[in-house]
Amino acid sequence: MRKAPPRFPKGRFYVVMKDRNGEGAWSQDLLPAQGPRARGDGELRERLVEMRGIRKSFPGVQASDGIGLTLARGEVLALLGENGAGKSTLMNILAGLYRPDAGEIHIRGERVRIESPRDAAALGIGMVHQNFMLVDSMTVAENVVLGQRGLPFVPDLRAVKRRILELSARYNLSVDPEAYIWQLSVGEQQRVEILKLLYREADILILDEPTAVLTPQESEELSAVVHRMRGEGKAAIFITHKMEEVMTFSDRVMVLRRGRVVAEKTTADTDPKELARLMVGREVLFRVEKAPFTPGEPVLELRGVSATDDRGLPALRGISLSCRAGEILGIAGVAGNGQRELAEVVTGLRAAKEGLVSINCVETTNASPLSIIRRGVAHIPQDRNQVGAVGDMSVAANLAMKGYRSRPLSSGGIIRPSRFRDLARRLIELFKIATPSTETRIKFLSGGNIQKAILAREIGACGSLLVAVYPSRGLDIGATEAVRNELVAERDKGRAVLLVSEDIDELLSVADTIAVLFEGRVMGVFPAAEADAERIGALMAGMEEGGKRT
């Protein structure tokens, strides 16, 4: 048995880092260790990872309930399961962030104890988390070597950069080693996370919902990287909610439900329908029922709206759109083409530099967020952890954050906590939010359940317009189906829905009208019934209708 190293040996410097939720603080070593890590080479065993009888409970939930998992060299295992099934928990155990209550872990046939991410790294295990863990104010190269063992006190960053360029060429992961993290898009940040693992020569890679934030092209690139690594004898565990990705990425699939393994299949022997059924425990209809499209008066109107992004660069360039009552206007486009800014301008969170915004025929250009909320506008924001929910407040408080200004949640400036709880119980029931109690701090819910809570609150507060930015991102198929049905229900109630999505199938099945955004411009607007995926795809890539690139 390997003896776990002490967590903070003397005479070393550490940086303590936190992920974006402020959770999972861990420390990283800045000074060199002795030599290259010892590995049982020579006798390379087929089985890289074996987890047996892993159990882990959190107050009120059994997140892992006796899970066994194996991973062989050169294999890609897809981990599938509903929101809150315990996928991230299991992987965090393997990566040394959580310790299991019971169970054994064997790496290359040897029983090990993984007490910290450093232990995991020493064993060649690397994880890309659901929320990235990079230091914003440092460069790519600095982030890559941060926490590296065997690093001299003043690292030779030139050599590091060379190595990064080498790796990025080999795996086709283009990143500028000198760029600062805050300058990078989400997709680029993820490349940095992967480079970090490659740099460390990790051969057991864990990717927790890596594609949730990626554009379809970026997902394909990632798939190529994973295949290449597999060819080199590395192995990967891959979490996703998208069935097509399971089929294209993986060799084997394991399905979790409520902390238990409910099925294990060879990918070639299964199909998306079966997997969906195994995951949810019932048949999933990948179909949305809609009433006929009978649009009413325009609710949201934008005329020539321009705005800049956080760095002051133009993000919207003269957008004109209109969304009518009883209509779902789908905004298609590769992430980062102005979608977020569009939603923020509509909801008053970002100033419009030019143009007019009006809601129900009243001009609301640059009105305060509160006055826009008062006009019955609800908003499901892109950033659910920092903006949509307040992690350290209870589920009940988070659910009350739209309605607390008026009866029944408050009267005369006084809030009624018991009514907060009543509301929370109702919404938890209605939207099937998995939480131990109404008083649990919301950051302890799984990613998908946090999103469900935000959705429940916003839909409840919607009076005339619902702005939904990637509402089904990170949701399991059951929840995705539920979200789509909710959006359609809002439309059928006569509300206008602005739906930002990068999932073309979602737009085609849910939206009535589709507008494609590219570099802050509207490339085209057409009824969803007349659209096809190829045409949307071409417009998303900046091709004009004639087929030439702008």
Binding site: P59, D101, A102, V387, M393, M401, K402, G413, R441
Partner: protein
């Protein structure tokens, strides 16, 4: 078997009460070691301290005298801390309030009816405290100037300004050169309830209850906790973040200001040297130890006051430095900070 920490889902109520008590116990042990090292008998010292703080009616009222400003400044500091506005300027806010109250009491008595003099002085004090806190609040929300530095620096400005006044233009000509203003007219004296303890006690207790209700039960309190946890989320919910931070910090300054106004109108009846014995700094310990809970603050303030008064007594009775009271205060803070781990985390024992 292995033991480790795990983050709690909700703050443990038991831990919220136990941690401060355990820190107190730990600090007694730690201070005991220091006492032994300096050649004193810790038990005798603690007994003397306790007797000094609670041993007689007079002693108890003296403890109350110190508990009142500690409660008020503790409340003030905790309001700001809840918004992650690190107001360490309660000392300065208290001092300018003393100056403002003195100005009213000294110079406005010919123009005001007698009954109005005291309320005017107290209100002026609270307003001055608010203004003094408002400066860093506006600098922070308007220009993103770090509030920690500004509030700290303004402490020195306030203290030196008050010294200038009672050494210079406001010095009592009949005061035999003693640094201080002339005594206030009696109309500006705050009534006393026992010994030197004054009616500010009732105000402080009422404000603690009021503040708790304000934070836990009102819409504004709910908005403040959203802002304190995540300003970006607050903005998204339509809450005017900057304005509310400024308002809450004004409230924070006003509370500390009340403490200063009560000190001059209730205790010294003049502005003089020694207006504050570091209440504004001890308030930070009070606020942390109460976990920013207004209902806990009066009790913690009483405890801290007892340490101060008891420390003085130890000096007289046992020949130990009075600073021993401060040493104990510091000693409480360390276990307290370590102990807050237990309110956020719990120990988990696992068999592996």
């Amino acid at each position: 078997m292995n033991i480790h920490f795990e983050k709690r889902k909700s703050l443990s109520r038991t831990a919220l009460v136990l941690v401060p008590l355990a820190s107190l116990a730990a600090s007694l042990v730690l201070t005991g070691i220091i006492l032994i090292l300096s050649g004193a008998d810790p038990f005798a010292t603690y007994r003397a301290m306790f007797r000094g703080a609670f041993g007689s009616f007079r002693a108890f009222t003296e403890t109350l005298v110190k508990a009142i400003p500690l409660t008020l400044t503790g409340l003030g500091v905790s309001v700001a801390f809840r918004l992650k506005f690190w107001n360490i300027g309660a000392e300065g806010q208290l001092t300018v309030a003393g100056v403002a109250a003195a100005a009213i009491a000294l110079f406005l008595s010919p123009f005001l009816p007698a009954w109005a003099l005291l309320p005017a002085a107290v209100i002026a004090g609270a307003l001055a405290g608010a203004v003094w806190a408002g400066i860093p609040a506006l600098l922070k929300t308007g220009l993103k100037v770090d509030e920690t530095l500004v509030t700290l620096m303004l402490n020195y400005v306030a203290i030196l300004f008050s010294e200038y006044l009672y050494y210079g233009p406001w010095r009592d000509p009949k005061g035999y050169g003693f640094p201080g203003t002339a005594p206030f007219p009696e109309a500006a004296w705050l009534p006393r309830i026992a010994g030197r303890a004054h009616a500010g006690l009732w105000v402080a207790l009422a404000l603690a209850l009021f503040l708790w209700l304000l934070l836990a039960r009102t819409r504004w309190g709910f908005e403040l906790s959203i802002i304190g946890n995540s300003p970006r989320a607050a903005r998204y919910q339509g809450i005017a973040v900057e304005r509310n931070i400024v308002l809450a910090v004004l409230l924070s300054g006003a509370l500390s200001g009340l403490a200063g106004a009560f000190e001059v109108t209730g205790i010294s009846h003049r502005l003089q040297q020694g207006l504050s014995i570091g209440y504004g700094y001890t308030a930070i310990i009070v606020a942390w130890m109460s976990q920013l809970n207004p209902l806990a603050i009066p009790f913690v303030a009483l405890l801290m006051a007892a340490l101060l008064v008891g420390g003085d007594q130890v000096q007289m009775a046992m020949g130990l430095p009075a600073a021993m009271g401060f040493v104990m205060q510091g000693m409480i803070l360390f276990p307290m900070l370590a102990g807050s781990l237990f309110t956020e985390y719990r120990l988990k024992i696992a068999r592996a």
